[in-house]
Amino acid sequence: MKVGVVSGNVVSTINFPFFDGKKLMICDVLDGAGNRGSEYTIAVDQVGAGVGETVLILDEGNSARQIFGLTTGPVRAVIVGIVDQFDLNFPPNPADNG
């Protein structure tokens, strides 16, 4: 899974039937330092996320289809959680210093 920030949405009427009624959000994927890079993904919103919110993005097809109770469907990226906080400032592991 990835952590991202919702930066917008996509509206579409002509689409593959799976996407009927689904909310599609554009999410900036955060890099290892917690910053927005150039990577983004369009994800199906399953939790009611809004623009500006930090979210948990599932990016794997079988798990995504399982969420929607399907065995087939062209879905891979799904917003599965809204992140309250995340912390990258773990104390350094002594083992890493040789």
């Binding site: 917008g8 996509v10 689409n15 554009i26 369009i42």
Partner: protein, 90 residues
């Protein structure tokens, strides 16, 4: 999924089994602000209505074949929607 701009069509008479009747389009992948990113690619048209110049979104990898009538076909990108509107802040 990513945004893309349809740039053209591809016609192939001889192709792998299961791809009969599938339309292929040349798609330029776009960034979230609709700027071109990377090289154009060939995507199957799963909505049957996309045409040159249109803004679409496409799915990549194994999930692309899931959009085809036959699920086990050699397709790695598929257009699954035509975009009416994109709203991006920041």
């Amino acid at each position: 999924m990513q945004l893309g701009r349809v740039q053209g069509t591809v016609v192939a008479t001889i192709k792998s089994e299961g791809l009969e009747g599938v339309r292929f389009l040349i798609v330029q992948p776009l960034g979230k602000n609709q700027q071109p990113v990377g090289s154009p690619l060939v995507a199957a048209d799963a909505v049957h209505m996309a045409g040159p110049g249109e803004l679409v979104y496409f799915v990549a990898s194994r999930e692309a074949a899931e959009a085809m009538p036959e699920r086990f076909v050699p397709v790695d990108h598929a257009i699954v929607g035509i975009v009416d509107d994109v709203q991006v802040t920041s």
